[in-house]
């Protein structure tokens, strides 16, 4: 059963990736502007003579895809089959996958941390808001949740940035870690990593916290209204155990959302990365676009899309595993 489901998902996912890759390929190739002209201008501005700049730029042509659009497409797709995403133009001679993965690390870690942090806090506060839903505190929690949920990430990022760099400059607003620390598992380096990631993580956590509190609140309210909770109470089940009943049932649907939002995280942090100059995928994508690095753009799209698709699959399968109703099939009817 599980294997069949998985196979179906994978097949559909592959088709999806194929289509999305194709669409993004043509969209990306239709971006006007010549990467070489831009680089030429830069070199000239840096004082290189026009002729030398011209020749230097020509070298880069070697890294740009050649042939007609259709040929490029065929090349690109056949490259994909070999898991080859092509060469970066931005960093000539380096494969797109290398660039992607080194950037992805810096998106995944903070966003993952932010999401999990906000998930934990949001879930707890959501339970609280649900229990206190008729009181003032519940109202405040819910409205602040909606507000945080509604406010775009960049507003939060800018606000936090303004507070922590202009008003009380205590946190670094760009970079990943102090280079003076030897990377590795040592307190200094890890402390530095945390220090540098604080603002992005905090922003991401704040931005997603609202969603969790809302989702958890409504989920808990639903479960609290379910008969089996009252039934458990009427059987004299201990409060702690009843609370676990509520929590487990309420959190179950949230795991799906969690999986999905983890899928979205690859593409989700452009603003935050731009504002805090955190060198993740978002910043890389902007760089790729600005430099017309088609292969890099395509790779980023593919990675983001694949992450979403995988997250969807995982969410579904995860649900199959943890929810006994789906596991044995009734819930799917």
């Amino acid at each position: 059963m599980f294997a069949r489901r998985l196979a179906g998902h994978l097949a559909r996912g592959l088709v999806m990736i194929l289509v999305v890759t194709t669409v993004s390929f043509f969209v990306i190739r239709s971006v006007p502007g010549d990467p070489m002209a831009a680089r030429y201008e830069k070199l000239v501005e840096q004082g290189m003579s026009p002729g030398a700049a011209q020749r230097a730029v020509e070298v880069l042509y070697g890294f740009a895809p050649t042939g007609g659009l259709w040929q490029q497409y065929v090349d690109y797709m056949s490259g994909l089959l070999r898991l080859d995403l092509g060469q970066s133009l931005l960093v000539p001679g380096v494969s797109v996958s290398t660039v992607l993965f080194s950037a992805a690390k810096w998106t995944v870690l903070p966003v993952l941390a932010g999401t999990l942090l906000s998930f934990l806090i949001g879930v707890v506060m959501g339970v609280y808001a649900a229990i206190r839903r008729s009181g003032r505190l519940g109202d405040i929690l819910a409205i602040s949740g909606s507000l945080l949920h509604g406010v775009p990430q960049y507003v939060l990022a800018l606000l936090l940035g303004a507070v922590f760099t202009t008003l009380l400059p205590i946190l670094p607003t760009s970079g990943t870690a102090d280079i003076m620390f030897e990377p590795g598992f040592n307190a200094g380096y890890i402390g530095s990593l945390i220090e540098y990631a604080t603002l992005p993580v905090l922003t991401y956590a704040l931005a997603s916290y609202g969603g969790w509190i809302l989702a958890m609140k409504s989920s808990v309210v639903t479960v609290l209204g379910d008969d089996f909770i009252l039934a458990a109470e009427l059987r004299g089940i201990k409060r702690g155990i009843v609370f676990r009943y509520v929590a487990r049932n309420a959190i179950l649907p949230l795991f799906t959302i969690l999986a999905l939002s983890l899928g979205m995280l690859f593409g989700g942090a452009i603003f935050i990365e731009r504002i805090f100059n955190y060198p993740g995928l978002g910043l890389m994508l902007i760089d790729g676009i600005n430099n017309r690095d088609y292969a890099l753009m395509g790779g980023a799209f593919l990675l983001i899309t694949a992450a979403i698709i995988v997250a969807n699959i995982v969410a579904d399968l995860f649900y199959t595993v943890i929810d006994p109703r789906v596991r044995s099939g009734e819930g799917a009817a």
Partner: protein, 336 residues
């Protein structure tokens, strides 16, 4: 006049985990309902009553078999051409709460089909309002009170009446009432049943009544026919009173025995039949579908599938290899 021959329906789960699982909801059901007639389908939960009702009302398609409405077989017709026939068969939902649109007033709810009707029959607009009031009065409601209200402002019984009035807007030949009273308060149930009966008598609408409570089936009309369905198969068919007083199929007997006895007013039937097991739809046996649960089964029952037919000496048709009349029905004290 609507007849069905050998209607079958199998549900196949598509997609999801259950993909491939089959439920044989109907296994070759025959029926015939006269114009102005009444028929009741009874049976346990999940035995296919609703499915049959929906097929008859044209809301569901069947797999094989033939439905004939007023002599016209439906299967050769394109879905579009079937509609006018099925329009004349209206389904009354079990749940009057969901059967009415909560965002529309009763006036709006009745108006829409009436306007259509007026257009079809070339009647003037003014007829619509008149007709709405007329129909509400017919189902025993005060139009002035009901019309401007939203469904949530009405009681369950009133809602069910509105549902019936709405079904009447298209002048149907037949009403299919699927558990139409099971969600209505006890004290009001009889009112709805009486209304259905009244409509039969006054408008000549035939009524197909679906229930798992045999007692209510009587109230649609004493000339009604009763179909006892078990796992998609009709196991006993005949006149209501005949079957109640002299059921021969052990399943029918189980159903009748299950009706609570009003101790003090009634005394229980002497030969009450209790099935030996609970219903298990997934079970596939070669023989009689009821055999596993039947207290009277023989070896023959496990291999031979009985078909519906007239047994010797019984006025009703039945599908039992060992038909035997048992007195299972409670009798009022003092009448014997």
């Amino acid at each position: 006049m609507i007849t069905g021959k050998n209607i079958t329906k199998t549900f196949r789960q598509r997609g999801g985990v259950l993909a491939g699982r089959e439920v044989r909801a109907l296994r070759g059901v025959d029926f015939a309902i006269e114009k102005g007639g009444a028929a009741s389908f009874i049976g346990e939960s999940g035995c296919g009553k609703t499915t049959l009702g929906r097929i008859i009302a044209g809301l569901e398609t069947h797999d094989s078999g033939e439905i004939t409405i007023d002599g016209t077989p439906m299967s050769p017709l394109k879905p579009r051409h079937r509609e006018p026939y099925f329009r004349r068969i209206q389904l009354i939902h079990q749940d009057p709460y969901s059967a009415l649109n909560p965002t529309r007033t009763i006036h709006q709810t009745l108006n829409a089909p009436l306007v259509l009707r007026a257009r079809q029959t070339g009647r003037p607009r003014s007829w619509v309002d008149e007709r709405a009031e007329e129909l509400l009065a017919l189902v025993g409601l005060d139009p002035a009170y009901v019309l401007p209200r939203y469904p949530h402002q009405l009681s369950g019984g009133m809602r069910q009446r509105v549902v019936i009035a709405r079904a009447l807007t298209v002048d149907p030949d037949m009403l299919v009432a699927d558990e139409a009273v099971s969600m209505i308060d006890v004290s009001l149930r009889l009112g709805i049943l009486a209304l259905l009966k009244d409509l039969r008598e006054r408008l000549g609408v035939s009524v197909l009544f679906i229930t798992h409570d045999v007692a209510t089936a009587r109230y649609i009309g004493d000339d009604g026919e009763l179909y006892v369905i078990y796992r998609g198969q009709v196991v006993e068919r005949g006149h209501v009173e005949t079957i109640i007083s002299a059921p021969v199929h052990p399943y029918t007997q189980s159903l009748l025995s299950a009706i609570p006895v009003l101790h003090g007013l009634e005394q229980p039937g002497e030969q009450r039949v209790v099935p030996t097991e609970a219903l298990d739809e997934s079970h596939h046996d070669a023989g009689c579908l009821f055999a596993r649960r039947c207290p009277f089964r023989t070896e023959r029952c496990e291999s031979e599938l009985p078909v519906l037919g007239h047994g010797e000496g019984t006025p009703q048709e039945h599908a039992c290899l060992h038909p035997e009349r048992r007195s299972v029905v409670a009798t009022p004290i003092g009448r014997g």
